[in-house]
């Protein structure tokens, strides 16, 4: 064995490193087991079947304090996913608008967009959440004097309530019709493209799709009895009943996450659009393409390649940032896990579950991103 050889030295270092890491882990585990035994806490995931004993304020799926910890954690996860999903959609819409606005020729619009981005990006998200939560709980009137927007939206300190159609088969049928309409829309677009390839001109695509998406569900709704009954939020006792409820915690978190992340998404979109070389637009103009065609056929395909990876990174950040819910009392996964930890003392197991969940989400998104990049990479020599 040649001790001077780099390879051998490399292996010696690695073995030493492994030994050190293993030793450290063994020591930590040993301490932990000792401490847990001293406190009379069981190691393992058995506690998940025990009765939780605490209430959760937002339960998309039915839950009662008598249910198990496992169920409570599932509720927490559901809450995390719901607020993240809504946040992602809202942040994307807002972010794209602001990002494009920053590049607008109108200086006032560009200036306002820039002011927005600089305002939200330079202040901690936690403080923004406190502001939104404060506005929603302090500045909204008490339940008895709730602000009502035509009876459709009712805002009070207890949160927001939206009027929602009463459950009726007609809506389900309309929903199915909408799905059918989406499929038909794709089919129509495909047919239109085949027609353009064959003859050079194509039947109108957008108007037909719009008509389909509106007319088909409408027709189905009509045929199924045109259910018009809407459940309005009505004051009954201490709170409004009826309609869909949105707690102030949820609203604050959703609004805060959306507005904050939108600022970052705006920058990503702006960078993507700027990354397209000006010569590309020149060439497209010289060929006679219309502004819409230039955007659709030349600029967007190139800009999207640059936009999508950092965009999904922002989605990931939003999902991780939803954990700030614990600071304003929204029962997300971390929040529920925290309560569980405090009640059972099973800190390690609870945290392990939480971290495993987030890791899974992160790795899934990263894998999807790698797939996207591999498929859309520009081919070079």
């Amino acid at each position: 064995m040649n001790l001077r050889s780099e390879r051998v030295r490399g292996w010696i270092w690695q073995v030493a490193l492994l030994a050190a890491v293993a030793g450290l882990l063994a020591w930590l585990v040993g301490n932990t087991l000792e401490n847990l035994a001293a406190r009379g806490i069981q190691v393992g995931f058995g506690f998940l079947d025990q009765e939780a004993g605490f209430a959760i304020s937002q339960t998309p799926v039915p839950y009662a304090p008598g249910d198990s910890y496992a169920r409570a954690l599932v509720i927490g996860l559901a809450n995390t996913l719901i607020v993240s999903a809504i946040g992602i959609v809202a942040a994307t819409l807002l972010g794209v608008v602001v990002g494009v606005a920053r590049l607008a020729g109108n200086r006032l619009l560009a200036g306002l967009a820039t002011a927005y981005v600089e305002a939200v990006r330079n202040v901690p998200l936690l403080l923004q959440l406190f502001v939104w939560y404060g506005i929603l709980t302090e500045w909204l009137p008490p339940v008895r004097q709730a602000i009502s927007l035509g009876g459709v939206v009712v805002m009070s300190q207890r949160g927001l309530r939206f009027a929602w159609p009463q459950a009726h088969a007609g809506w389900a049928v309309a929903g199915i019709a909408l799905l059918v309409a989406i499929v038909l829309a794709f089919a129509w677009r495909y047919r239109a493209e085949r027609r353009r390839d064959a003859t050079g001109s194509a039947p109108p695509v957008l108007p037909v799709i719009a008509a389909l998406l509106v007319a088909l569900p409408l027709a189905a709704w009509w045929l199924a009895g045109a259910p018009m009954a809407i459940e309005y939020p009505v004051l009954r006792g201490f709170d409004h009943r009826g309609g869909i409820a949105m707690s102030p915690e949820f609203a604050a978190l959703a609004i805060g996450l959306s507005t904050y992340t939108a600022g970052f998404i705006a920058e990503v979109v702006r960078a993507g659009l700027l990354s397209v070389d000006r010569g590309q637009v020149d060439a497209a103009k010289a060929l006679g393409l219309s502004p819409g065609q230039r955007l659709r056929l030349v600029v967007m395909p190139q800009a999207l390649r640059v936009i999508v990876p950092p965009l999904t990174n922002q989605y990931l950040n939003l999902t991780k940032n939803s954990s700030l819910a614990v600071a304003i009392g929204y029962p997300d996964l971390v929040s529920v896990a925290n309560t569980t930890m405090n009640q059972t003392g099973q800190a390690i197991e609870a945290m392990a579950i939480v971290m495993a969940v987030y890791l899974t989400i992160s790795l899934a998104i990263a894998a999807a991103m790698n797939l996207f990049e591999a498929r859309t990479r520009l081919v070079e020599r």
Binding site: D197, A198, G279, A283, L287, G288, S290, L378, V379, R381
Partner: protein, 244 residues
Amino acid sequence: MDAPAVSIRGLEKWFGDFQALRSVDLEVARGERIVVCGPSGSGKSTLIRCINRLEVHERGRILVEGVELDDDLRNIDTIRARVGMVFQQFNLFPHLTVLENCTLAPVWVRRLPRRDADARALALLERVRIADQANKYPGQLSGGQQQRAAIARALCMEPSIMLFDEPTSALDPEMVKEVLDTMMTLAEDGMTMIVVTHEMGFARAVADRVVFMDEGEIVEVAPPAQFFSAPQQERTRRFLGQIL
């Protein structure tokens, strides 16, 4: 007498406070080949970019085949349909194959059926001798091949006038010849061409007239024989002394 291909009168253009073009007058007849040369910053690129409205002129008039170039979008579209342009940086669309680059505009602007567009594109790619690269992406081609593809792309729209903005300046020396040869066959086929270039050999061989620009104005115009052997202006002489 036919209307001239391009008629420019009193053209003036500023970039902020910098005047890029000072009262330029030029007339290009159909089938004529013009080479524009001059030191950098002289306004040569700006001039030809004004012709297809990639730059907007402030004063003066430009007429392309009798159509006035102004803010009217229809006129701009008409003119762009008749004028093809080849850029120094090629500007091929990297996300499309060479064939798709060529058929994009015929399909979407001229509304050609795809089969006809493909056929026309392949014929033109054959003419510039890169038909075998049709299904490759621009990133896979050499500089010379990319520029020839760019020429084919412009030709697919069947322009009557071709503008070239320093087409060989970004190429390695061994690839300059293949592009110049392509441009020469184009000239032999009777295309009206306005070429901004430093390639004086090309000017001597192909040009009907050589235009020398300096500091935003046309200094001298003459047929190549006279331009190169007996330049009239001092500035022209100095320029020729530097590059030849």
